[in-house]
Every structure is written in structure tokens, then in C-alpha cells.
């Protein structure tokens, strides 16, 4: 029942940061950032277990490991970008948060380009040649 711990941590941090915001808004921001980091570190352990299983399945079925690595990198980029964007949005700069999300999307596209290229080449090779 780790969800109870996460919810309890969230409620506690919300109350503490409400108290702190009256006195020092900077400390309230750092407190919420710290709580977000705690929850993400906690989730990283759980995601690691899932990824181990996916990795072993991919090794058994002889999938090209480059594709798996690319997908995992994309998930990692999404994870970090989400964390950063949420922390920045909490501090009230939603425009910067949108830029972080945009950067995450662009970097994901850049990572996915080789896979898309292979897919399109496969489709082209299936087409009947015009000659």
C-alpha cells in the first residue's frame, strides 16, 4: 500500500508549504520541489522493475536492441521533462514550463527519427517499382 504513503506525503507537503508560503514563498517552492523529487525517485525504482522485465522479453524474442534503447531513452526524456515542467509551473512560470515541454517533444522527435526512417524505407521497398 505505497499509494497511501505517497498521498500522505503529498497532503503533508501541501499543508507545510501553505504554512511556509505566508512567511517565505521561496522556501515553500523548494519544499514542493523536494517533495516532487522524492516521489519521482520513488517511482523510478518501480519503473526499473518493469523495464527489467521488458528488457528480458526483448532479449528472448531477438528484437533489435537499438529500438528498445531508443524507446527507453524516449521514456526517460519524457519523465525528466515532465518533472522539470511541473516544478517550474508550480513556481508560477508556465511559459518556461511550456518551453521545457516543447524541448522534450523536439528531443523525442529527434530520437525517433531513425526508427521512422527505417519504417518508411520498409514501406517504400514494398511498393511496386514504377520501372
Amino acid at each position: 500500500m505505497e499509494i497511501i504513503q505517497v498521498v500522505g506525503l503529498g497532503l503533508l507537503v501541501a499543508i507545510l508549504s501553505l504554512i511556509l508560503k505566508e512567511q517565505k514563498p521561496m522556501f515553500a517552492f523548494l519544499l514542493t520541489a523536494c517533495a516532487a523529487l522524492f516521489i519521482f525517485i520513488f517511482l523510478a525504482d518501480k519503473i526499473a522493475a518493469v523495464i527489467r522485465v521488458i528488457e528480458s522479453l526483448a532479449l528472448e524474442t531477438n528484437v533489435n536492441l537499438v529500438y528498445l534503447k531508443t524507446i527507453l531513452k524516449i521514456i526517460g526524456i519524457a519523465y525528466i521533462a515532465e518533472l522539470g515542467a511541473q516544478i517550474v509551473r508550480d513556481s508560477g512560470f508556465s511559459s518556461i514550463a511550456s518551453k521545457i515541454e516543447l524541448a522534450g517533444k523536439v528531443l523525442i522527435i529527434v530520437m525517433a527519427v531513425p526508427i521512422i526512417e527505417v519504417l518508411i524505407r520498409t514501406v517504400i521497398s514494398m511498393l511496386p517499382s514504377s520501372a
Partner: protein, 67 residues
């Protein structure tokens, strides 16, 4: 959850105590000392958060095969 939950309380406590010190020093008429106390408390908390951030990034780097 195997991590140190005390860091949350430490940060909240440092914030409250710094606010108290700030108020007391202001009442005594030492404005610049009050601001220094706030800055030092902020830097201490910032170090804690940055250490956590480093831990998270290392963990993500090992999990998602970034090496």
C-alpha cells in the same frame, strides 16, 4: 519508500526558523543581518534539493540506459 522522509520536515523547519530569525533581527533593527540569515537558510535548503535532484538524475540515467 526507503528514502529519508526527514528531509521534508528539515526543509519545512529550516524555513519556519529562518522566518522567525528574520522577524527577530528585523525587530532589533538589523535589517542587513536579517537578509543574510535568509540567504544562508535558502542556500542550505537549495543544497539539499540539488543533492536530491542529482540522485534522481543518476537513477534515471542508470534505469533508462543513457550510458
Amino acid at each position: 519508500m526507503n528514502f529519508d522522509i526527514n528531509a521534508i520536515f528539515q526543509i519545512a523547519g529550516i524555513g519556519i526558523i529562518t522566518a522567525m530569525i528574520h522577524t527577530v533581527l528585523k525587530q532589533m533593527g538589523k535589517e542587513d543581518m536579517a537578509h543574510w540569515a535568509t540567504v544562508i537558510g535558502f542556500v542550505v535548503v537549495m543544497f539539499m534539493v540539488i543533492r536530491l535532484l542529482d540522485q534522481l538524475f543518476q537513477e534515471i540515467r542508470t534505469i533508462f540506459l543513457f550510458q
